[in-house]
C-alpha cells in the first residue's frame, strides 16, 4: 500500500542526511571565501590604522640672527640648528655615536620641516622657538608599543639609551601625536614617517585620464559598429572572437607591448602617465566594448525602426535614438573598466612607472608612478614602518575602487530605463 511518511523506505533517512550535508558544504564554501575577504581587509585595515597619526618632537631651535639671516631665512642650515637644539635638551650626550643616535630621534626630513615652518611664519625669527618636528619612524613605533623592548638590544631598532631619552621627552611633554595629513598630501620618501601617496595618486589619475580619453571613444565606437553596422561576415566574427580573447590576455603582456611599441618604437617618454594610460586603455578596451554592446543591445529595436520609418538615415537613427538611451549603461561599463585599470600594476612595471617619485608630477609626460605600484614598492621596503604605509595606501586604493563601483551602481539604478 502507499506509505508517504519518512518510514516509507527508499533509504530516506540517509538521503536526507546527505542533502543536509550537501547544503552545509555549499554554505561553508561561501563562508570561507567571505571570511577570507573579511580577514584580508580587516588585517590590512588594522595595520593601516597606525598611519592615521604621527609623532612629533618639540625641539628648541635657536632662530636668533646669528643663526638665521633674517633677510634670507632659507639660506640657514636648519639641520645644524635642529641638532644643536637636541644636544641642548640632553647635555650629557657627548660621544659621536650617541649624538648620532640622538639626532636620529628626529626624522632626517626634520630640517626641511623647520625651514618650512620658518618660511610660513617669519615672526619666529630672532629668538629660540619650540618647533614641532616629525619624529623618526622607530620612535613612533616604540611609542605605539610596536617594538618589543624585552628583546636583546641588538635585535631591535631602539636601544636602551634611546628608550631613556624618549621617556624623558615624554615626561616633559615634548612628544605629541597629531593627525597624519602628510600621508595624503606628500610625495614618496625614503623615510617612512614622511612618505605620502599624493604623487602616486596624481600619477594614477593622469594615467586614468589618458586611459579614459582613449578607451571610451574607441570602445564605444567599436561597440556601435559591431552592434549596429557590422555586416555579418567572417571579419566581424574575427573581431568578435578577438575582443573576447583580448579580455583574457594576461595584463603583463600588455606591458610588454607598451615597452616594445610605445617606448621602443614610438619613443614616448618612459615612466610617463601618457604611456601608462595608453597601455591601460588597451587593456580596458575589451571590458568597455563588451559592456557597451550589452547596453546597446538592451535598447529595443523599435526605437531605431521608428526613426528609420520617419526617414532618418541609419547613422542618424543610431546616434539620435539608440546612443542616448544606451549611454548610462556604457558609462557604467566604462567606470568599471576604469576601476580595473586603477588597480592594475604589472603592465605599469613594464613601462617603468616604478620610479621613485617625490614631487607631484605636473603633466602626463613627466615620470610618475601609480598608486598600486607605490603599494608594490613600499611592500618591498625593509623598514617596518613602511608596512603600515603600504596598508594605508591599500585602504586609500580600496576606497577609490569602492567609490567608483558605487558610482557605477548608482548611475545604473538612477538612469536605468526598463522597456
Amino acid at each position: 500500500m502507499i506509505d508517504l511518511t519518512k518510514k516509507a523506505g527508499f533509504g530516506l533517512a540517509g538521503r536526507h542526511r546527505a542533502e543536509k550535508r550537501f547544503k552545509w558544504v555549499g554554505r561553508s564554501a561561501i563562508a570561507i571565501s567571505l571570511m577570507f575577504l573579511a580577514l584580508m581587509v580587516g588585517s590590512i585595515t588594522l595595520t593601516a590604522s597606525g598611519t592615521l597619526r604621527q609623532t612629533q618632537i618639540a625641539v628648541q631651535v635657536d632662530l636668533g640672527a646669528e643663526n638665521v639671516d633674517p633677510t634670507d631665512p632659507a639660506s640657514a642650515s636648519y639641520g645644524r640648528l635642529v641638532k644643536s637644539g637636541l644636544r641642548d635638551m640632553f647635555p650629557d650626550v657627548t660621544s659621536r655615536r650617541e649624538k648620532k643616535a640622538l639626532y636620529n630621534l628626529v626624522s632626517p626630513e626634520g630640517s626641511f620641516e623647520a625651514a618650512k615652518l620658518v618660511a610660513k611664519d617669519p615672526d619666529l625669527l630672532g629668538s629660540t622657538q619650540t618647533l614641532w618636528l616629525t619624529a623618526s619612524d622607530d620612535l613612533d613605533l616604540y611609542l605605539r608599543g610596536k617594538i618589543d623592548i624585552t628583546l636583546p638590544q641588538n635585535q631591535r631598532q631602539i636601544s636602551d639609551k634611546e628608550v631613556v631619552w624618549i621617556n624623558a621627552l615624554q615626561a616633559n611633554n615634548q612628544l605629541r601625536r597629531v593627525a597624519n595629513w602628510n600621508f595624503l598630501t606628500g610625495g614618496d620618501s625614503r623615510e617612512p614617517e614622511i612618505a605620502g601617496i599624493l604623487s602616486a595618486l596624481v600619477g594614477s589619475l593622469y594615467s586614468l585620464a589618458v586611459c579614459f580619453a582613449l578607451s571610451f571613444p574607441i570602445g564605444i565606437g567599436a561597440a556601435i559598429y559591431l552592434e549596429e553596422f557590422a555586416p555579418a561576415n567572417r571579419l566581424s566574427d574575427l573581431i568578435e572572437v578577438n575582443i573576447n580573447n583580448l579580455a583574457a590576455v594576461p595584463s603583463i603582456v600588455f606591458g610588454l607591448l607598451g615597452l616594445s611599441i610605445f617606448l621602443g618604437y614610438m619613443g614616448l617618454p618612459r615612466s610617463s602617465p601618457l604611456v601608462g594610460g595608453m597601455v591601460l586603455a588597451l587593456m580596458t578596451l575589451p571590458t568597455i566594448i563588451i559592456a557597451a554592446r550589452a547596453a546597446l543591445r538592451s535598447v529595443p529595436p523599435s526605437f531605431k525602426e521608428a526613426a528609420l520609418a520617419l526617414g532618418a538615415s541609419p547613422v542618424q537613427a543610431v546616434f539620435h535614438h539608440v546612443f542616448p538611451v544606451a549611454m548610462p549603461g556604457m558609462l557604467t561599463g566604462a567606470i568599471i573598466g576604469m576601476a580595473q585599470a586603477l588597480g592594475e600594476t604589472a603592465p605599469l612595471l613594464m613601462i617603468g612607472m616604478v620610479a621613485f617619485i617625490v614631487d607631484i608630477p605636473d603633466s602626463i609626460l613627466e615620470p610618475a608612478t601609480a598608486l598600486p605600484v607605490q603599494i608594490f614598492l613600499w611592500a618591498d621596503s625593509p623598514e617596518r614602518a613602511f608596512t603600515e604605509k603600504t596598508a594605508a595606501a591599500i585602504i586609500v586604493l580600496l576606497i577609490f575602487l569602492i567609490s567608483m563601483n558605487l558610482i557605477a551602481i548608482l548611475l545604473r539604478r538612477k538612469l536605468e530605463t526598463r522597456f
Binding site: 580573447n245 583580448l246 547613422v315
Partner: protein
Amino acid sequence: MWFDRIVIVLLAAAAGMAILVTVGIVLSLIFETIQFFGKVPLSNFLFGLEWSPQTAIRADQVGSGGSFGILPLINGTLLISAIAMIVATPLGLTSAVYLSEYSSKSARAWIKPGLEILAGIPTVVYGFFAALTLAPFIRMTGNQMGLEVASESALAAGIVMGIMIVPLISSLSDDVINSVPQSLRDASLGMGATQSETIRRVVLPAALPGISGSLLLAASRAIGETMIVLMAAGMAAKLTLNPLDAVTTITVQIVALLTGDQEFDSAKTLSAFALGLFLFGITLCINVVALHIVRKYQEQYD
C-alpha cells in the same frame, strides 16, 4: 550620404583597433623573440633544465652566457596555478551551486556582490596579504610541525591566488548552471530525487562542458597572474613539486628581467619577450578552447 559613410568608416576603424591590439602584441613580442633565438637556440629554451639569465657585465667573466631553460619556470607556474585551482575549484563550484540552487533571492543579493568584491580587489593587495600575513603564518605552522618551509612559499601564493579566482569560477559556473533547463530538474525532482541528488546526478553532469570551460578560463588567469607571485613566490627557479618551496614563474621572471637596469639587445632582456610570447601563446590557446566550449554549450540549450 558622405557624412554617414565617414562616420561608419570611423566606427569600423574603432572596431579594427581590437585586431590591431592583437597584431601589436604579436609583433612586439615576435621581433625580440626572433632576436633572442639568434643568441640562444630554441631547444635550449624549451628543454633547458636551468634558468639563470644573469649574463655578466663583461663577456670574459665566468658563466657570462647565462642559461635560458624555461622548464623550471613552467614548473613553478604550473605548481602555483595547480595549488590555486585546488583551492578555487571546490570553493567556486560549491558556491555557484549553492547560489543558483539553494540560496533565497535575498541571500543571493548579498552573497553575490560579496564574492564580486573579491574579484574587484587589485592583485597587488592579494600579493601584500600573501607576503605579509599568509606566508609567515604558513612558515610558522610548518616549522611547528617540523617541516622546512621557505619564507616565500608556492603554497602561500597559490592559496591567495586560489581565493582570487573563486569569484571568476563561481560567477561563470553560476551562469552555466542557471542555463541548465528547468525541465531537467523537474523531471528528476518529479520522480522523487532530493535536491542534492538532482544537482549531483543531473544538473552538474549537464553543465559539465560549460563548467570545464569556466575552469579553463580560471586556469589561464592563474597562469598569467603576476603581482601575487611577484610579491609572494620568490625568484628561485627550480624544478620542484614541493609546495613549501620557493619557486618562480614566467610572469615573475618577465618583470625581474625588464625592471631595473637593462642592456638593450642582450639575451637577458630579449628572453623576457620570448617568455612573454610563450605566455601569450599558452593563455591564448586555453582561452580559445575555453570560450569555444562555453559557446557550444550555450548553443546546446538555446
